[in-house]
Symmetry: C2
Subunit: 241 residues, 2 copies
């Protein structure tokens, strides 16, 4: 089992994990080394210049900027990146209710070069949450459905602990045990986990569904600082018309 | 060329990049999946519990906690980790002048299972700076010698811009172009780069030596916040006797 991002070795996948420290958000760049076609997952508005610069440095052509869901804790960079990198399209789930060039749903694929990301529906944090799975199932981008030793909140937007529990167990824990899981956030300085690890060590999702629901309904978390600004903005790709 | 940490695919290397946000320090966990022997590079005191927990979760046995150099911006976690994970040894360069169980120098190897890290001497930020190169040359841990699109400071400890310039050009830029470079710090949310990328896009090290020296001598940076506490502590593995 490879615990590092090496499962697609030699297949020509370019991969970069990027971090935004205020909302502790991870953005992911994936590209086909041969065709140079690139996808950016969950870019953050404040880091759009950095991301565009890196894409240019690497000689890549961003074709899609995709969100895992309509975020409540930061404003998406997709709208601004479309302007910085003309020719690219924004992508989000149909169920998110958010504006984008392309609306996808479970089973749809985002193709870039010889690679593709398969969209799996993993609601529970929001109704429109997608998990993007690389076509060889070596890595998956879980958004806020599954975090490293944690999971996304279920106490705002369309949060529902029971839905989240089923999403993770049926759509994420069914992936190969060595599949690398890359979340949308981490607050502890960790960068990646695996299906096997979370099945063994996730303190919430190793519990029964009833216990999980009880934990999630009693977290008593503060309202996200940016929610009143971020959600309306993210419903429009992060930019005002 | 693989831009992601996948060059050792299928060879059984476990790899994790970890982050400490106050000093923006990266810690690296490398282990042999078969023998479970693990090495931690540049652990940070405040994250020792997290690192020990991860090593236990993954069923690994840490045999070495190695520093790239005597850090001025954070206190090393090696001393505390030796207590949390008995049986492990601290490692640093002889030239650092710091206390450790094992002192190494250019050409020495840190072996873990079927893997090894070769120590290259890359002075200039400090006299004792080492770059650790994985035996298959797929990845290197550059400490503060080379940062992503930058480099370490040369205005304190034994800093010397000319030495640093030669270190990077002879010891790091001589690695294969696709070699992944993992720095001790990043302040922009980037996680990794390659030899090829830095040879092309590093704004300082693509300059002539004279220009580089001039840039480095005119940065006018603030004194590192933790230097008066960190350096004396790091000379003793981060713990008081
Ligand atoms: Fe979210
Ligand atoms: Fe340093």
């Amino acid at each position: 089992r490879a615990y590092c991002a090496m499962a697609s070795a030699g297949k020509g996948l370019i991969f970069r994990q990027l971090f935004e420290p205020v909302s502790c958000t991870y953005t992911y760049l994936l590209a086909d080394e041969k065709t140079k076609e690139a996808v950016l997952i969950d870019p953050v508005l404040e880091k759009a210049d950095r991301d565009a610069r890196l894409i240019k440095d690497l000689g890549l052509k961003m074709i899609y900027a995709a969100n895992t869901h309509c975020h409540a804790d930061h404003i998406t960079g997709t709208g601004v990146l479309k302007k910085l990198l003309p020719g690219s399209k924004s992508v989000i789930s149909k169920d998110s209710g958010a504006k984008a060039d392309i609306h996808i749903q479970a089973g749809d694929e985002i193709k870039f070069g010889n690679f593709a990301l398969e969209a799996r529906s993993t609601p529970g944090h929001t109704d429109g949450c997608l998990t993007y799975v690389l076509n060889d199932k070596s890595m998956a981008f879980t958004g806020d459905a599954l975090l490293i030793r944690g999971c996304g909140r279920t106490d705002f937007q369309q949060g529902c602990p029971s839905k989240l529990y089923h999403s993770v167990h049926t759509q994420i824990f069914s992936l190969p045990s060595e599949c690398l899981l890359y979340p949308a956030h981490d607050y502890t300085g960790q960068t990646v986990t695996t299906v096997e690890e979370e099945k063994k060590h996730n303190p919430r999702l190793t519990k029964s569904e009833a216990e999980f629901v009880n934990i999630m309904n009693n977290l008593n978390l503060k309202k996200p600082a940016q929610i009143d600004i971020a959600v309306p903005a993210n419903l429009k790709c992060g930019i005002q018309d």
